[in-house]
């Protein structure tokens, strides 16, 4: 599994087997009266077959080691910030959560000038909240502090 397509095909095959296992308890029914497990099992088999073809035809794909992962630490830092936002959104409220998120992204991850960090971190959440919640009347969370 030294090629990208071989790894991807193997993962797709493993995923399809997992889907097949999950779909097994569902009634399959029959060709006259297909049950809720009918199409999921057929699709899992299609995924298995296509995943196997991807893996088998993968000899011409790039080598795994040739892939450039230099951005990965930053990807994980960005995803962690989003995870924090998802955790804090309803307890801290939209404006405070987005303020903290922007301070983290702009100030810590990107090390932007402090003036820009403060201006964007305060201004953007207030502006977005005003447009979405106040003008368009789509409720955004206010949190325990009402913010």
């Amino acid at each position: 599994v030294d090629r990208t397509d071989r790894l991807a095909g193997a993962i797709l095959c493993a995923f399809s087997l997992w889907v097949l296992w999950l779909a097994w308890p569902l009634p399959f029914g029959g060709i006259r009266d297909p049950g809720p497990g009918f199409l999921p099992r057929l699709l899992a088999v299609l995924l298995l077959v296509s995943g196997a073809i991807v893996a088998l035809r993968g000899s011409a794909a790039p080598r795994l080691v040739a892939l450039d992962w230099t951005e990965l630490p930053r990807v994980l830092a960005i995803a962690a910030g989003m995870g924090f936002a998802a955790l804090a959104l309803e307890s801290l409220g939209f404006r405070l959560t987005m303020f903290a998120l922007l301070v983290y992204y702009l100030g810590i991850v990107e090390r932007c000038p402090i003036g820009w960090v403060i201006a964007l971190s305060i201004g953007l959440p207030l502006a977005v909240f005003h447009v979405i919640d106040s003008l368009l009347r789509v409720p955004l969370p206010r949190g325990v502090l009402g913010w």
Partner: protein, 511 residues
């Protein structure tokens, strides 16, 4: 439909579209779409998904006009970054990079932008005539289609998507299958069984299309672009440069006309139609040109053709969506979801039951085209300033908008988690060179596909011949079989097919 009826319906549409509120939202949609199309990381799909919650308080007609404006605007906006920076703002503008940027280097950036805008305007306007004439009779025909025909149509749609998506067909098919599996999550409407929900009540209604689309197309792009530190170099054309020469106009007329026809026809088909149409148009113009050597060096035909084609394809994509209720790609799929969220039943009866919506939408698109032509060229200097913002300032803003948009659909933090998950999945899949559009289309089509297959089999008492004894279903299946044969042929004959040539051309455009 008689011409008189069409014209009176169009008059009805303009009576809706020219209402100040609708006009205002069409304008807002076009402007936002232009910005969205210009920003790497916010293509038309992510833009529409993000704006979807903002339409909840609007009338369905206004909502669909706003979203269509974003789609159209993004098509216009994508060409700006291609021409000025050699960075396609969205995928359909890849071909414009080649000769558009070459024109910029020769000092003809203004001419290239003007030709792209004029070509887009002509294509957008003419293809709407096609949409207007084709959708009503197709819808009238579709009313007579039963479950076997719909099952065959959806199967053909998925195969066409896999064939036309440009990448490896097994990889694209596996993504379509993955999308269909994900579309099975939730309560089975025919039996009441819950499937793949892991006892999470949030999954009872399935996985939302918005978090999937935002994750796969918005977040994954941000993840891929993370760490980009190079400040973009942007050429800023002067206003007086924005007039094409007589020679440029004369040379662009034919490519724009051919691109319009080609783009509209390709746009009706499932797949990455706007991307493929621009590629096909570029290849056609190079073949027809008396000066093929100029292509790649700043041939104006290489801008006019692809730009017209991708805008015409955007209109063509609405034909199956509005006439059949079947989206031909992820963008119409999200727009269909928007209609459903507003309680508008999508499908063949839409045109008959909601004439104000259908004809108002058509008229608003005409208006949107004029608005885009009038605004985009004079505002190009402003847009260029936005392109100069370093990405490290831009992506946190994009992420805040993404989180807000996803949360606001159902006021659900769970959906934010889903978007993050799909963002990481999209990042990995793009690293491994997989197409993401089939996943979104699979998720959208899965319930309708399953219902059609099961109803067809129940109708026939399990007799599979129901699929090939009905003429329409048989015809669709024959085309599907031909597609499979066509995709296998290059493998058997060991020769490069159009996908390889398209990939090579895209590498040329980006590199």
């Amino acid at each position: 439909m008689p011409v008189g009826d069409t014209l009176s319906n169009l008059a009805l549409g303009f009576s809706v579209a020219l209402q100040p509120e609708v006009l205002l939202y069409a304008l807002a949609g076009c402007l936002l779409g232009t910005l969205v199309g210009m920003m790497p990381g916010l293509g038309p799909l992510a833009g529409i998904s993000l704006l979807l919650p903002a339409t909840f308080g609007l009338e369905p007609t206004v909502a669909i006009v706003l979203l269509a404006g974003v789609y159209y605007g993004a098509m216009y906006g994508g060409s700006t970054t291609s021409i000025l920076m050699r960075i396609p703002g969205e995928a359909a503008s890849v071909m414009t990079c080649i000769d558009g940027y070459a024109m910029t280097r020769r000092g003809r950036a203004g001419g290239a932008l003007a030709i792209a805008a004029l070509g887009s305007f002509v294509a957008g306007t003419l293809s709407l005539v096609g949409l207007m004439l084709l959708a009503p009779p197709l819808a009238a025909f579709a009313v007579r289609m039963g479950p076997p025909e719909f099952a065959a149509l959806l199967l053909l749609g998925l195969l066409l998507l896999a064939y036309l998506s440009g990448g490896s067909m097994p990889k694209t098919l596996s993504m379509a299958a993955l999308g269909l599996v994900l579309g099975m999550v939730g309560i089975d409407t025919m039996s009441g069984y819950t499937r793949f929900t892991f006892d999470l009540p949030q999954l009872g209604d399935g996985i939302g299309i918005v978090p999937i689309a935002v994750g796969l197309f918005g977040l994954s792009e941000v993840f891929l672009a993370a760490g980009r530190t190079v400040r973009p170099q942007v050429h800023r054309p002067r206003l007086r440069e924005l007039l094409p020469t007589g020679e440029e106009l004369r040379r662009s007329a034919g490519p724009a006309g051919r691109g319009t026809l080609l783009g509209f026809l390709v746009g009706i088909l499932p797949g990455s139609a706007h991307v493929i149409s621009s590629f096909l148009s570029y290849a056609l113009e190079r073949r027809l040109s008396k000066r093929p050597g100029e292509f790649g060096q700043g041939a104006v035909e290489g801008v006019a053709g692809p730009e017209s084609a991708n805008n015409a394809a955007a209109s063509g994509a609405f034909v199956p969506m509005l006439a059949l209720g079947v989206p031909s790609g992820p963008i119409p799929a999200v727009m269909l979801a928007a209609l459903l969220l507003h309680g508008v039943p999508a499908g063949p009866m839409l045109i008959e039951q909601q004439p104000e919506l259908f004809w108002g939408f058509i008229a608003a698109m005409y208006v949107g085209n004029v608005v885009l032509l009038m605004l985009n060229l004079p505002l190009v200097g402003v847009f260029v300033q936005i392109l100069r913002i370093p990405y490290r300032y831009l992506y946190p803003v994009i992420l805040v908008i993404c989180i807000t948009g996803v949360y606001a659909v159902n006021q659900s933090v769970f959906e934010v988690w889903v978007a993050i998950g799909f963002g990481l999945l999209g990042y990995l899949l793009r690293k491994l060179d997989f197409e993401l559009a089939p996943i979104v289309l699979g998720v959208i089509l899965a319930p309708l596909f399953e219902l059609s297959v099961r109803q067809a089999l129940a109708m026939s008492g399990g007799d599979l011949s129901i699929f090939w004894t009905r003429p329409v279903s048989l015809g669709l299946l024959v085309v599907a079989a031909a597609l499979i044969a066509a995709s296998l042929w290059p493998v058997i004959a060991r020769r490069a097919d159009w996908r390889d040539r398209m990939a090579a051309a895209e590498r040329g455009g980006e590199g």
